[in-house]
């Protein structure tokens, strides 16, 4: 789920993503969990052969009663990632980082953005 609505909804065998503490895979009957997610590739294993992948921004995961609910601020289907766009965004964020003072809020925001965009670029590159 993203602020712009549901990105994916359905039954899957396994959800794999990355929390602040490391990679995480969740299957059925996992114990109730609430976790904080870092930007990563989100893989939804629908069954053995089919995997739906998203590039996922920061967010949260809640697993209860065999329902995994992921709240992320953005989820882009991997196929829609565009390297050119990402590189342009990275450049823009880097300029912002350099323009902002150390320790200021703008600095932190730029760092967060850069971190996310770099992850997305890695994901996009792994695809090609």
């Amino acid at each position: 789920m993203t602020p712009d609505g549901a990105a994916y909804s359905g039954e899957v065998e396994m959800v794999s993503t990355r929390t602040v503490d490391g990679s995480l895979g969740i299957k059925a009957n996992h114990e109730p969990l609430m976790a904080m997610l870092n930007p990563a590739e989100l893989r939804l294993h629908v069954d053995d052969s089919e995997v739906v992948s998203f590039a996922q921004g920061e967010g949260y995961l809640q697993m209860a009663n065999n329902q995994a609910l992921l709240l992320v601020e953005e989820a882009t289907p991997i196929a829609d990632l565009k390297l050119d766009d990402l590189n342009a965004k990275l450049e823009e964020a880097t300029t912002r980082l350099e323009a902002s003072e150390d320790g200021s809020a703008a600095h932190d925001l730029a760092e967060r953005d850069i971190h996310r965009i770099q992850r997305f670029i890695e994901i996009a590159e792994a695809q090609t």
């Binding site: 789920m1 993203t2 602020p3 712009d4 609505g5 549901a6 929390t19 602040v20 503490d21 995480l24 114990e31 109730p32 969990l33 609430m34 976790a35 904080m36 949260y60 809640q62 209860a64 009663n65 609910l69 709240l71 601020e73 953005e74 200021s104 809020a105 703008a106 932190d108 925001l109 953005d113």
Partner: protein, 308 residues
């Protein structure tokens, strides 16, 4: 008096304007629908963040002591975020915000407080500059299609100013969306964030939220003792709570965008109606001129015949 030809020309140009305004009306209507959908789409996300926060707060036993939750002892500097559009041609959409923002600023100044202004939308920025009330930061270029990271940028800036003690309170002034015809200028406190708002549903503004809560409580009731947290609930809350500010701003941005489209649609409809009215009057005028010209010619012919 204008000649028949001049009037015909005017009719032509008014017709052109009408074409433009009715096209703009249609574009606004389509965008309005999209903006409405986005407001709808945010609801489940906001509600879930809220219930998650409540669950985590219950697990942590208390809400951690975050600076954005603490009211400052004295309110000496009030931050006002005025939110409207990048573009004009939307009736009183932008001016309403400017007017009530400037009035709110004056009120605070009368009570002896300083005011720091923030602007969202190019129109607001330029109007404030024109009045010599330069905003401390202007966010522009996205008001017709705001995205979540825009809200985060604004929230981060406001939170930083609040934590650094540059402002002691932050309010937003924006057009909240009721229907395409009605927008209401709303002033909403966003910082300090009230604990009550977190625990008793500040993000969802009405009754539907209750059923979601109940659902969630059911889930909670069954599984509460087993929740696993990664990281600890206190850490989770540190990130969840600022999200409230982001979501509040994001909702305001979306509502403001929908209001802008509604106002634009209404403004363009009245412009088109006006143009029809004008075309009608001008056509009447042109016919009158034509008849006058014909009468004149007949009179000349008759007068000439009599002269013979």
């Amino acid at each position: 008096m204008a000649s028949q030809k001049d009037t015909a020309n005017r009719i032509g140009s008014v017709k052109n304007i009408q074409k433009i305004t009715s096209a703009m009306q249609m574009v606004a209507a389509a965008r309005l629908r999209r903006a409405e959908q986005r407001i709808q789409a945010l609801r489940p996300y906001a509600d879930t963040i809220e219930t998650m926060t409540r669950t985590a707060a219950a697990a942590a036993g208390s809400i951690p002591d975050l600076p954005i939750l603490n009211p400052h002892e004295e309110v000496n500097n009030v931050g006002l975020l005025l939110m409207a559009g990048d573009r004009g041609l939307a009736g009183s959409f932008n001016t309403q915000i400017i007017r009530s923002g400037v009035a709110a600023r004056q009120e605070e100044i009368d009570e002896g407080r300083d005011v720091t202004l923030f602007a969202v939308g190019r129109r607001i920025d330029s109007s404030l500059n024109f009045r010599d009330m330069e905003p401390s930061r202007a966010f522009t270029g996205f008001t017709d299609r705001p995205e979540y990271h825009n809200a985060r940028e604004i929230a981060t800036e406001l939170i930083a100013q609040y934590i650094d003690g540059k402002v002691d309170q932050v309010d937003i002034v924006y057009n909240s969306y009721l229907s395409p015809l009605t927008q209401v200028v709303t002033r909403q406190r966003i910082l300090p964030l009230a604990e009550a708002q977190i625990l008793h549903g500040g993000l969802s503004d009405d009754d539907d939220a209750e059923s979601l809560d109940e659902q969630h409580e059911m889930v909670e009731g069954e599984t509460e003792p087993l929740w696993d947290y990664e990281p600890a609930p206190e850490e989770l809350l540190k990130r969840l709570i600022p999200d409230f500010v982001e979501i509040t701003i994001y909702r305001a941005l979306l509502e403001s965008a929908a209001s802008e489209m509604g106002a634009k649609m209404t403004a363009m409809r009245s412009a088109s109606d006006n143009a029809s009215e004008m075309i009608k009057n001008l056509t009447l005028e042109m016919n009158r001129q034509r008849q006058a010209a014909i009468t004149q010619e007949i009179l000349e012919v008759v007068g000439g015949a009599e002269g013979l």
